[in-house]
């Protein structure tokens, strides 16, 4: 999965995000209304699509979608 496909999945999952507005440098924390519920949704999404279990601590250390994508790629490798 390339990063554009990854972004599409996130946009699909988060109702609050308008399609086509996220980029690799978007900070998911800065998304409007970001909450711990979004973190759970993100962890579930990553688990489902990548079979990678992301801890809350790992997620806290990340800022942009590119950061997240890179971490997943390294955990998958």
């Amino acid at each position: 999965m390339n990063i554009q496909e990854f972004i599409s999945i996130i946009e699909e999952e988060f109702d609050e995000v308008e399609k086509g507005t996220l980029t690799p440098t978007s900070s998911f924390r800065q998304m409007e209304g970001w909450s711990s519920m979004h973190a759970l949704i993100l962890i579930a999404l990553v688990d489902n699509h990548f079979d990678v279990l992301l801890t809350g601590e790992e997620l806290r250390g990340l800022d942009t979608i590119q950061d997240l994508y890179d971490l997943l790629a390294s955990k998958k490798a």
């Binding site: 109702d15 209304g33 711990s36 519920m37 979004h38 962890i43 579930a44 688990d47 489902n48 801890t55």
Partner: protein
Amino acid sequence: MAFLKTENTRISAIYTCVPSKIERTQDYEWISLQERQLFTKTTGIIERRVASESTTCSDLCFEAANQLLNDLNCKDEIDLVLFVSQSPDYFLPATSIILQNRLEIPTNAMAFDVNLGCSGYVYGLSIASHFIQSGNIKKVLLLAGDKSTISTNYEDKSTFPLFGDAGTATLLEFDSNAEDWFFSMASDGKGKDAIIIEHGHSRHPYGTMEDETIEIEPGIIRSKKHLKLNGMEVFNFALKEVAPSIKELLNFSNQEIEKVDYFVFHQANKLINDSVRKKLRIDFEKVPLSIDYFGNTSSASIPLTICKELSNQVLNENNKYLLSGFGVGFSWATVLLNLSNVKTKMIEYA
């Protein structure tokens, strides 16, 4: 992981009692409307049942058990009363013994409590079936539930809108024609702080500081006597342990996942159950929910879900069920069994 097999046990009735008072997520004004909508979307909780101040978990279990024993006319045949709960009536004595007397079950019955939550129903089935397969115990009354709302704080969005109260009664009995039951059970106390009430027992007895509330983060205010829940840690635990433990149980019992007709999971959070379902590639129709209208009801969640969603199937069909509870402890347990000719009832406590 402990793997166990028991024989000669069948479930003949499952009754559930819930309080009549309803609290809706959309009315939870401590958080914004947008947050309430996201909460319902993620957890699945539309509303839940909340017991009045004077009602305890044992009152709800009593109602369920009393009707069950009257309907099946077997009060005098109960050899064991097992109460699985984390909200007992007193520090001591055990609530199961109080219920033995209240239900007018003969004094030759054994009675004891088991202190477990989310995994408790399956642990209770395991204990009951081990007693029954010995042949000396013919009927067991398993009472499971919690009044979790007694320890949640309104100003804590991570617990208050999540939990509902319920009490259940399950009748198990000896049946030499019953099919074998298979269990897998495990524990990991490293997760003890993920779901905990820190003060009030021996480690930190009640003092003067328990009424002092502290803001942990925006929207989360509680004191040391309140239930604390780290949703992220619980979520990660469930994603990591539940699906593999189910696969291992199927392997141990030599059963194929396709042969299981229904999967009744503990109702903690719809997102967890959806994730586990996807990992195991189970059809949506095979995984019933009760969290939508009852919230997380702790050890009552599995029997409640059966009463709410599968009453016709367990009475009129003979199907294979996989029941799995996981959470506080951490503790997790799964059983594979057949259910048929099981009477169920949903009762409202006025």
